[in-house]
Amino acid sequence: MMTGALARTLAILRKELTDTRRDRRTGTVTLLSAVLAGPIFLLLIFNLIASQADRARDITLPVMGAEYAPAIVAFLQRQQVSVTKAPADYDAQIRRGDLDVVLIIDASFGKDVEQGKRGTVRLVFDRSRDRARPAIDQAESLLRGYNRLWGDQRLMLRGVTTSVADPLLVETADLATPQQSGALVLFLVAYYGLFASVMGGMAVALDTTAGERERQSLEPLLMTPARPAEIVIGKWLAVCAFDALVVTLTLTGFYLTLAFAPLPSVGVPFLFGAREFGRFLLVLVPMMLMLPAILLYVGSRARAYKEAQANVSVLLFVVSLIPLVQLFMQRREPGWLMLVPVSAQYSLLNTSLRGEAPALAQLALSCLAPAALTVIALVAVTRRLSRESILSGK
């Protein structure tokens, strides 16, 4: 009897795989977006970072009143800053975002300095503009540097060591490993890997449940000797297979892009080699089993494909929101997080990306809830298929 059940389950799996493989339109769209997503995504992000870095490096500083303080201008030019003449309507241009920052030197600068007063310069900017921030910071730190240099020179003229006026020495040690500094970009890689495991199985899962019902082929299927449990497991395995394929292709896209594509250098040494690839797959295994089961359940509740699509958007919303909440919650992650599906996986993906191996105990914990949910969802689908109400409502 067991061999009969196995043979039927395999027959269902085989049929679903053939059916899916021949669904050119869905297949092409899903696979193409999976393969291309990584490269396109990374290219965009890298260019964004590179352009910000460029802006910070080659700073152009429009100056108004350069003639009043030629020493400052000379200092700036020695620091590779190209000093330009500020336009008259500089404040309007800053407000519009055309200019990042403008330096204004008072006409009384020279006279004040001669009289032993402090010379006044003004930096004008709009700090609410993220894009302008590196330029603002750069200008501020240059002026501070000049101030310090000037002060030090005056002290030395009076025979005083600079440490008298500067008793505190602040040394910084950034413990971020090179990999960690790419955290934001890596968040996106982890996020996308997680997302691929939802999107991968979606079309197939809905087609094989709600679609089967809509096409009127479910009732004849239920009249065959195939038990509802066999039908559900056969279909589930088929969806899992497709889901795993999409996740693998998505990760391959990332891997190939990071390894071989001529991405602009942004000082973010990415670590997404074969080892990270393997760890990603390992961490995502519970998702690749759980999400197809849940998608099948959502699909089995609907009478038609469209209805199922509407219902599935709730699931999509939850899965895509959890990592975002985690990103903004800048706290140390509590231990119970490993018991929350999606959250745990996201956290472990991040661990992998930081170049660390996820702890085995954590990996095991992260599988608990998805395993339970997988079983619950599969049992629920089986029960739905066993109910008479599945026949009603064409």
Partner: protein, 247 residues
């Protein structure tokens, strides 16, 4: 051989819709039994109870002595059903559609392919066997659905309104096929609301109205009982009204 004893089924929250009430009749082997009734008489529910998909509230349905509830898996292996829902998998070929059902019935390899070849030859499906069913006509779909229902050579065959939407050539083909199956000693139960269809084919007729059997027997017996000149008048007389016959 199908035996129904006091079969009943109601739907709705408070079981207020009585789809089938107290239905008792036999459908013997080697005969075509027609289930005649207006729309909503309970034909589909009755067939679904025999096909083990709907559990009766009372009474029992036996197929070759096997109970449709207690032995439902054994019953499923013995029956071939052309149900009201007869969707094919449009991305699979005609042969693959039938092969899938064959595999679910435990067939495989050369015996399965030979069985499919034989069925396709009888049904005239051989020329389109390797084509995907997406582009099939209504008649071609019906033939594939019949092949699918018969792939495991069942002894008991249930057909729910099989001629719906078929052109006259397909209907004639179907009749020929059903007569051939009868000649092989199969038990056929055929539901329809079309009187001519039932009259042309069935050995015995069970008239169903509002879930009850209002009369059963051969066409001649029904006409004699109603005291009318033709089967249509007999049918209307037996129902007590011509409600539901318009469709």
């Amino acid at each position: 051989m199908i035996t129904l004893e006091r079969l009943a089924k109601a739907f709705g929250k408070r079981r207020e819709v009585h789809a089938v009430r107290d239905v008792t009749f036999d459908a013997p082997d080697g005969e075509i039994t027609g289930l005649l009734g207006p729309n909503g008489a309970g034909k589909t529910t009755l067939l679904r109870m025999i096909a083990t998909l709907v559990v009766p509230d009372a009474g029992c349905a036996l197929v070759d002595g096997l109970d449709a509830v207690a032995d439902r898996h054994a019953v499923r292996a013995r029956i071939g059903v052309l149900s009201d829902a007869r969707g094919l998998y449009s991305r699979l070929t005609a042969r693959e559609n039938v092969r899938y059902y064959g595999a679910l019935h435990g067939l495989s390899g050369a015996p399965l392919e030979q069985r499919i070849d034989a069925l396709f030859a009888t049904l005239g499906l051989a020329p389109i066997a390797e084509r995907r069913s997406a582009g099939f006509s209504q008649g071609e779909r019906m033939k594939v659905a019949i092949a699918r229902a018969l792939v495991h050579d069942p002894d008991t065959i249930l057909l729910d309104e099989p001629t719906n939407g078929l052109d006259i050539m397909s209907v004639r083909m179907l009749r020929g096929e059903l007569r051939a199956l009868r000649a092989q000693g199969k038990c056929l139960l055929f539901s329809s609301h079309v009187i001519q269809e039932v009259a042309a084919l069935c050995d015995r007729i069970v008239v169903l109205s509002q879930g009850r059997v209002v009369a059963q027997g051969t066409a001649c017996e029904l006409i004699a009982r109603a005291g009318t000149s033709g089967l249509e008048d007999a049918f209307v007389a037996l129902l007590g009204s011509d409600e539901g016959l318009a469709a």
